[in-house]
């Protein structure tokens, strides 16, 4: 089919990218035709503002180009004019389903740059909040995947549990959604014994509620047929595409940064990394369900082993002092003034620090030139990189599988678009 030059010029570049993709489809019948379908950015099954351009042969997907950027807020640019402390609230808005995990990841990165460490109690609490955030994110995954393939009850049940978690987050951090709980060198405040009792009650009850959801799904023929063998990624493809997180572990590669490069106190805690070999949507579902149980196990251990003490490192030039001391002591007032106005001044250097976020490897690359502001702060967001696997997963699947694949990938656009 020949196209007139003005037609070519009118085509958007994303459309050209789709047509440039190598496709092996042939149209023998004159009546058959390929169709280009635009899905999103306003589509309930794309989990935010993901846009897909899908090329169809009948009902079969022959090519797919994901388009991101509809939620781009320029956090990397903003970071360059924030002090290291001022950027903490922005990390909440990356993966907004597990803000506590992002807070922890960012605090760890800056602490690595500064060469300081949070006290043991803060480290245990950080493990606890990271695992709570992981459960929160995976519950969202569970609910939305089930809803994407047509099971609305699981969505309601998962959200009932998430609601309890938001009550916990409110008690821990003072906010339900945008927690901003970590500080450089520690945490915003200690957790009370009542809150820890609430956490214990929540993790005691959670496995039973997960079982309820699994009873609805694991032998459900519709759910199994919609996810089994759908969106397969081979291990080689996954590594080549930079796939991380539960998706990678569903391909048979047991890579988990909590085990591979232990940070915080993960080394002292006993947990296993669930690995499945299917590489499909069902395997990704199984991995996440098992991970939630491992998180419960971790939180139980944290509650048992957590030492007492301060949640702030004693590094007056690097860590914000306590407010009550700022108001009463001269020295602390000076340090507070200096840190708030000029920022903590790390040495010249560059670091890359990554944690295992619910969706994969969340990394921060910080280049410091010795000032109170990062010269460059790059966010390696797992959702952004994981979305690259979509064209591979979708090739050859049916149009109805598209929503199941996106659901099983569990992208969060706040993180992918930064």
């Amino acid at each position: 089919m020949e196209q007139r030059p003005e037609e070519v010029a009118r085509k958007t570049r994303i459309l050209q990218a789709l047509e440039n993709q190598h496709t092996s489809v042939t149209f023998e019948d004159a009546l058959e035709n390929d169709m280009i379908l635009n899905m999103g950015p306003q589509h309930p099954a794309t989990h935010g503002v993901l846009r897909l351009l899908i090329r169809l042969d009948g009902e079969t997907v022959v090519g797919c180009v994901p388009e991101v950027g509809y939620l781009h807020r320029g956090y990397e640019k903003l970071a360059e004019s924030c002090t290291y402390h001022e950027f903490i609230p922005h990390t909440d808005r990356l993966d907004y389903l597990s803000p506590l995990n992002n807070n922890t990841a960012y605090a760890l990165a800056v602490e690595k740059l500064l060469g300081i460490e949070a006290p043991p109690r803060a480290q245990y609490l950080r493990v606890m909040i990271s695992e709570l955030a992981r459960i929160s994110s995976h519950l969202m995954f569970l609910g939305s995947l089930a809803m994407d393939v047509g099971a609305l009850t699981v969505w309601m049940w998962a959200f009932r549990e998430r609601e309890k978690q938001y009550d916990l987050f409110e008690n821990i951090a003072g906010a339900r959604f945008t927690t901003s709980y970590t500080r450089i060198g520690g945490l915003a405040q200690d957790v009370s014994a009542e809150t820890l009792a609430m956490v214990k009650k929540f993790v005691d009850e959670l496995p039973g509620h997960l079982l309820e959801c699994e009873n609805l799904l694991n032998t459900n023929r519709i759910f199994l047929e919609r996810t089994d063998g759908i969106g397969v990624v081979t291990p080689d493809q996954a590594v080549d595409l930079g796939f991380t997180g539960p998706g990678l572990r569903a391909c048979g590669i047991g890579h988990d940064l909590r085990k591979a490069n232990p940070y915080l106190v993960y080394n002292d805690l006993d947990f296993s990394v669930p690995v499945y070999t299917g590489g499909d949507a069902l395997a990704r579902y199984y991995v996440r369900m098992d991970e939630m149980r491992e998180s419960v196990k971790l939180i139980h251990q944290v509650l048992q082993k957590m030492p007492g003490g301060d949640v702030h490192a004693f590094k007056p030039k690097k860590v914000l002092p306590r407010k009550e001391r700022v108001y009463t002591k001269m020295e602390e007032l000076i340090h507070d003034f200096m840190i708030v106005n000029f920022g903590v001044e790390p040495p010249v250097g560059e670091i890359y620090s990554a944690v295992e976020a619910p969706k994969g490897e969340l990394g921060f690359y910080i280049y410091s030139n010795g000032e109170g502001y990062p010269w460059r702060l790059k966010i390696r967001s797992p959702s952004f990189v994981n979305l690259q696997t979509l064209p591979v997963m979708m090739k050859g699947c049916m149009i109805s599988d598209v929503v199941a694949i996106i659901g099983s990938l569990d992208p969060v656009m706040g993180e992918a678009d930064k």
């Binding site: 958007t12 570049r13 994303i14 990218a17 440039n20 991101v68 950027g69 781009h72 320029g74 990397e76 640019k77 903003l78 360059e80 004019s81 690595k112 740059l113 060469g115 590594v239 080549d240 595409l241 930079g242 590669i253 890579h255 591979a260 490069n261 250097g349 560059e350 670091i351 890359y352 990554a354 490897e361 990394g363 690359y365 280049y367 460059r376 790059k378 390696r380 952004f384 990189v385 979305l387 690259q388 678009d417 930064k418």
Partner: protein, 161 residues
């Protein structure tokens, strides 16, 4: 591990991979841009090193008259659980680098992002489009000379039909 990597790089590439630095236990190696693909392929395929995973690729604007832009490759070895950072500098008047998509497919979007944010063109990239900002946008916002508040009127509104 870091000493082993330096030794392996030096024996293979000689002086061209000799510029190394270490900070907080992380190794950074500065590579001339002509050799970067070769070095990456070597690090990926060498049986002792096996840096098979490109964790991150990002641009960096040093805002200096020479060697203004840098591209930073954070590699990870799934087998050895070790990280290494490679850095390549490029000039302001011709910010061009060879693409890494032939070694790792994941470089595709990372390079598009670097092009979007810094205007560094990756030669041989299969799909060199902007990834976040609209195609009509003319600036590269993470360059240090782009103001934080943006440039008024630089984002064209869609035409009314």
């Amino acid at each position: 591990m870091n000493a082993k990597i330096i030794e392996a790089l030096k024996s293979r590439f000689g002086e061209q991979a000799a510029q190394t630095s270490e900070f907080r236990g992380e190794l950074t190696v500065i590579i001339p841009k002509e050799r970067i693909v070769e070095v990456c392929r070597f690090l990926k395929e060498d049986p002792g090193l096996r840096f098979d995973f490109l964790a991150d690729l990002s641009g960096l604007d040093m805002f200096t008259p020479v060697n203004r832009f840098a591209v930073v490759y954070n590699l990870y070895s799934l087998a050895n659980k070790h990280r290494i950072r490679l850095k390549v500098f490029t000039e302001e008047d011709e910010p061009k680098l060879p693409t890494m998509t032939g070694v790792w497919s994941t470089a595709n979007w990372h390079e598009r992002e670097t092009f979007d944010m810094f205007g560094i063109v990756f030669e041989g990239h299969p799909d060199m489009r902007r990834v976040y900002l609209p195609d009509e946008f003319e600036h590269h916002p993470l360059r240090k000379d782009f103001p934080l508040m943006g440039i008024p009127g630089s984002l064209p509104l869609p035409k009314k039909s």
